[in-house]
């Protein structure tokens, strides 16, 4: 069976997915850093190595994402929206609305039963509600970003944030900490503020169930719960939500 490679060069993280025909065989995730070309090469090498194949075994390579133009060995470079849509359709065929929380960008994509885009909206003007909030929160609380979700679930009284701006939220959080707010309540408050901003955005594409949450933000259980609360519905979260677009890219040739 032929091997396919999908690469998603995001603003924060670069991901590669290796599929054999339609089956996911291996993947790799690494920070994008300042050199997208190098980051892409790195994740490809890792993914190939994990499955013990060489670049010569690859039948077709598709690159997508913010830095896709830097991946010169890709045969095709579709938009990350369409890769996202295909990736999620492959994983959860019933999903009609995808909420993607990336490192810098937040977007909502409405898709049809064939994984085609019906409508989408992306917040590219303002970092409000993006993964940047999580990075900032982790930094000021001196915890790992991976711990935020668990911490958030311990909260009994989430702090009310008055701002949707990532920069101002940081100073607000610092003030609340100095006033004695608990870390758990700060994190839960940040999750709530993010969820509210994200759903305001997503509402503009017309929310339709089922829902999936993707991107690095979907790895944060506190954020997922906060978004579900705003949606008043449950959502699908993949085992590895960060590789959705890379998976869609790997499968791109298959499902036009």
């Amino acid at each position: 069976m032929p091997f396919y490679l999908g690469i998603d060069v995001g603003s924060g993280w670069t991901k590669a997915v290796l599929c054999e025909d339609m089956d996911l065989k291996s993947y790799a995730i690494s920070p994008s850093g300042g050199d997208y070309r190098k980051a892409a090469q790195h994740v490809v090498d890792m993914a190939l190595k994990k499955h013990g194949v060489s670049i010569d075994d690859i039948a077709y390579t598709v690159a997508t994402g913010y830095g896709a133009s830097m991946v010169d060995f890709a045969s095709e470079k579709p938009s990350d929206m369409s890769c996202h849509a295909k990736g999620i359709n492959m994983l959860f065929p019933g999903v009609r609305t995808v909420i993607d929380v990336g490192a810098q960008f937040t977007r909502a994509i409405r898709i049809d039963e064939n994984g085609r885009i019906v409508n989408f909206i992306m917040n590219e003007k303002c970092a409000g509600g993006s993964g940047k909030f999580l990075q900032v929160t982790a930094r000021i609380l001196h915890v790992n970003i991976e711990e935020l979700g668990r911490l958030s679930l311990e909260s009994t009284k989430p702090v009310e944030f008055t701002t949707a701006c990532a920069v101002f939220a940081e100073s607000e959080a610092v003030s609340r900490i100095s006033e004695g707010a608990l870390p758990a309540d700060i994190v839960a408050g940040i999750h709530k503020a993010m969820a509210s901003k994200i759903i305001t955005l997503a509402n503009r594409v017309g929310l339709m169930p089922d829902y999936a949450i993707t991107g690095g933000g979907a790895k944060d259980i506190g954020l997922v719960k906060a978004i579900e609360k705003e949606l008043k519905a449950s959502s699908y979260v993949a085992h590895e939500p960060q590789i959705t677009a890379a998976l869609g890219a790997a499968l791109f040739r298959h499902r036009i």
């Binding site: 810098q104 303002c126 970092a127 701006c165 990532a166 920069v167 101002f168 100073s171 003030s175 100095s178």
Partner: protein
Amino acid sequence: MPKFFAGVDIGSTMTKVVIFSGRIEATIIGPTGPEHRKLANKVMEEALKKANILFEDLSYIIATGYGRINVPFADRQITEITCHAKGLHSLLPTVKTIVDIGGQDSKGIKIKDGKVVSFVMNDKCAAGTGRFIEIMADTLGVPLNDMGSLSLTSDRPASISSTCTVFAEHEITNQLAGGETLANLVAGIHMSVATRVSSMVKKLTIEPDVAVTGGGAKNIGLVKALEAKLGYPVLLPPEPLITGALGAAVLAKEIFEKYEREGQTPIRSPFGLQEAKIFS
């Protein structure tokens, strides 16, 4: 002995106190920090020391600014827009439009005879505020106080396409890596703030004279960029940070004297020089 009045302006970044008797007796400017509710009494103590008077010598005290609720010993709170207009008018009476660039907001205020006619304000988004410049200075490793002079050496301001502070920070890092000079980047940063502020202030009809106040007025590069974008030369008060606190002190004097004229005694705060117990 003259009567003394005080204005306390607790801004998001800096806390300012002015002691006033008809003329400025003392001014204090210090960082607000995260624990601003514990700060007002300390800066007031410093200001009193500088003016060489006692707390009991103050006839009336007005607090203003974003943290004005956390000044328990103030006799009254008045919004910073009103205080700003008052303070600026007492310094530069010909000014009709004020552009205030604070640490965490920016405002445009139209004034007539020291009173506010209309205003616009951004405190929702860090773009177009002092915070934007602060973050970029930090990213570039340029001391905040050097940003102004550095930008004047630019031959071609860098174009920064992102409005959002978070995205602009990324963009600047990339441009720096791509070989753009510090001076051009700093000039581009000032241009970005000036563009955003001027498009907001233009919602009011700008009438000269125009003054720039707040921390932003201390940055000559930003002032020049604002002049270019607003299309007017701008006046700067001698100490642009204290306009709000001065206005509060001037209003304290006016309010006190109005009570006196009417044969009344103003109600004073029951609290002495202590830190705030409650906070908002």
